[in-house]
């Protein structure tokens, strides 16, 4: 058993304080170091709320949430968050956007010392170093957003439907990139998604949340061989089995 990166015990959260709408109910989960875990669930089930609690952006009403044994009370320097919107600053170039997180967390010197060229290479953004966000396609913006989070070299990467707003083709391409990046760095990743096939393709484990209030209703280990690739992995019988199993749990089938 690897060291636990994330532990959540009896986590309950109300919107608008106790007495308000219950968003999450008694959620227990553990995510190992270097594990890739997806959380899926119907819209409004509180999965984004759960991610924001782990990111230190939202508080909670009862239970505990810990990262590497410490209670989460504020955003941490060793956690990178990627949101559904790419959140690039329109007045900064790709390079400056890539180093923005470093700059804000650790100052200008850290940003200047960062190896942007390697990240540009990794993200296939060569030639776009000095472009501004409005000159990029949607998929490229999201690559920069992920790059910004990776530049901080976080121990944990929290991703809230990072490709949710993109078309299927772009989404597939970014999934390939994400797989490649993860297989290289092996960070702890928590991915919020509403796509079952995306969750199965990428994850070591898929956690399923119920309708609101969100409760953990399934914890499925995905034992597909790695390295994975969308074109071949999706043809494996086990891939289809997992998708069917998860669809059944979510009541889609």
């Amino acid at each position: 058993m690897t060291e636990m990166a994330i532990r959540v015990d009896g986590l309950t959260k109300y919107y608008g304080g106790a007495g308000g709408t219950k968003a999450l109910e008694d959620v227990d989960l553990g995510i190992g170091d270097c594990e890739f875990v997806s959380i899926i669930g119907p819209s409004g089930c509180g999965k984004s709320t759960l991610l924001r609690i782990l990111a230190g952006l939202h508080g909670h009403d009862s239970g505990t949430a810990t990262l590497f044994g410490e209670a989460v009370t504020a955003p941490r320097d060793d956690v990178g968050v990627v949101f559904q919107t790419s959140n690039l600053l329109p007045w900064l170039t790709v390079t400056r956007n890539l180093t923005l997180a470093l700059e804000i967390r650790h100052g200008k010197a850290a940003a200047a010392a960062a190896d942007v060229a390697a990240m540009i290479e990794l993200l296939n953004l060569k030639g776009f170093e000095d472009k501004f966000p409005h000159e990029l396609s949607g998929g490229m913006k999201h690559r920069v957003a992920i790059g910004q989070a990776l530049m901080q070299n976080p121990r944990v990467l929290l991703m809230d439907e990072p490709f949710g707003a993109l078309d299927a083709l772009t989404r597939d391409r970014l999934n390939i990139e994400l797989l490649r990046l993860w297989q290289r760095d092996r960070k702890t990743v928590v991915l919020i998604t509403h796509s079952i096939s995306e969750a199965v393709l990428l994850s070591d484990r898929v956690l399923v949340l119920s309708e609101r209030p969100g409760r953990l209703i399934a914890d499925i280990r995905i034992d597909l061989p790695r390295p994975r690739d969308p074109s071949t992995t999706r043809d494996l019988p086990a891939f289809g089995d997992h998708v069917v199993e998860l669809s059944r749990i979510m009541g889609v089938v």
């Binding site: 968050v81 959140n87 923005l100 501004f132």
Partner: protein, 252 residues
């Protein structure tokens, strides 16, 4: 080739239109024998402008000085006040209503008071230009500061940014386009403010030239001075427009 429905302005047609207007002015004044002290012909105004070029330049520079100082003061203090109102909750519930109330005062009515307080010289004109330019800048900047997208603020919070970092690195640049819009509104207003100040009491400036020329029935000179004010205002606006090209990012 313009696609059907695409709006194009044809510079030829625009040019022809204005030439026609000028010709109508020029010749109708002559044909109908309009008295020159009522409406001089365009060519008379042109001649008056050329003859008075030294005078107009001298007084134009005075007005320009008043406009620029009033505008810069309005920009600096306007941004400072907007930032204060945005950041300090007490300022929002005290200063903001006061700004709105002051904004509602007809500023033209303050001009005689400014002359009483600050005299016939530069000071009262600066303050008038300032008063006219100040509020649009405050309101526009406040709108920009308040309109920073929530997702970007959350992103900054996730990066552990404190309030100062958030303000400096996110809210200020995000509000820049709004600030520039405020400046575009404020610049012509600053010119109006300075002219109003000169009307009420002054020894020089283009407003003073207009008053004296009208008083002595030199209507062509009045028009020439008006032309000078217009050119001044256009030039100032164009400079703001040029500067705002550097703030090219728009709503995010």
């Amino acid at each position: 080739m313009a696609v059907q429905g695409e709006k194009r302005s044809n510079p030829l047609i625009a040019g022809a239109f204005f030439v026609a207007l000028a010709l109508i002015w020029e010749f109708s004044v002559r044909w109908f024998g309009v008295k020159a002290y009522l409406l001089p012909s365009l060519s008379d105004i042109g001649v008056a402008f050329w003859d008075a070029r030294g005078l107009l330049l001298e007084h134009g520079l005075v007005t320009l000085g008043e406009v620029l100082s009033g505008f810069v003061a309005a920009a600096v203090l306007g941004v400072a006040l907007a930032a204060l109102i945005h950041v300090v909750p007490i300022a929002r519930s005290t200063l903001y209503p006061m700004v709105i109330a002051l904004q509602s005062i007809p500023k033209i009515g303050l001009a005689p008071l400014m002359v009483v307080w600050l005299g016939y010289g530069f000071g009262s004109k600066l303050v008038m230009a300032f008063l006219f330019a100040f509020f649009p800048i405050v309101i526009a900047t406040l709108g920009g500061l308040a309109g920073v997208p929530a997702n970007l603020e959350e992103h900054f919070r996730a990066l552990g940014a404190g309030r100062w970092t958030m303000f400096r690195r996110l809210q200020v640049p995000a509000a820049m386009p709004n600030f520039m819009d405020g400046c575009k509104v404020a610049m012509p207003l600053a010119v109006i403010g300075a002219i109003v100040g000169e009307f009420v009491g002054s020894n020089n400036g283009l407003g003073n030239v207009i008053l004296l020329a009208t008083g002595s029935s030199q209507t062509a000179l009045t028009f020439a001075a008006l032309l000078a004010v217009t050119l001044l205002s256009l030039a100032m606006f164009y400079i703001v427009e040029l500067v705002s090209k550097f703030i090219w990012w728009r709503a995010i």
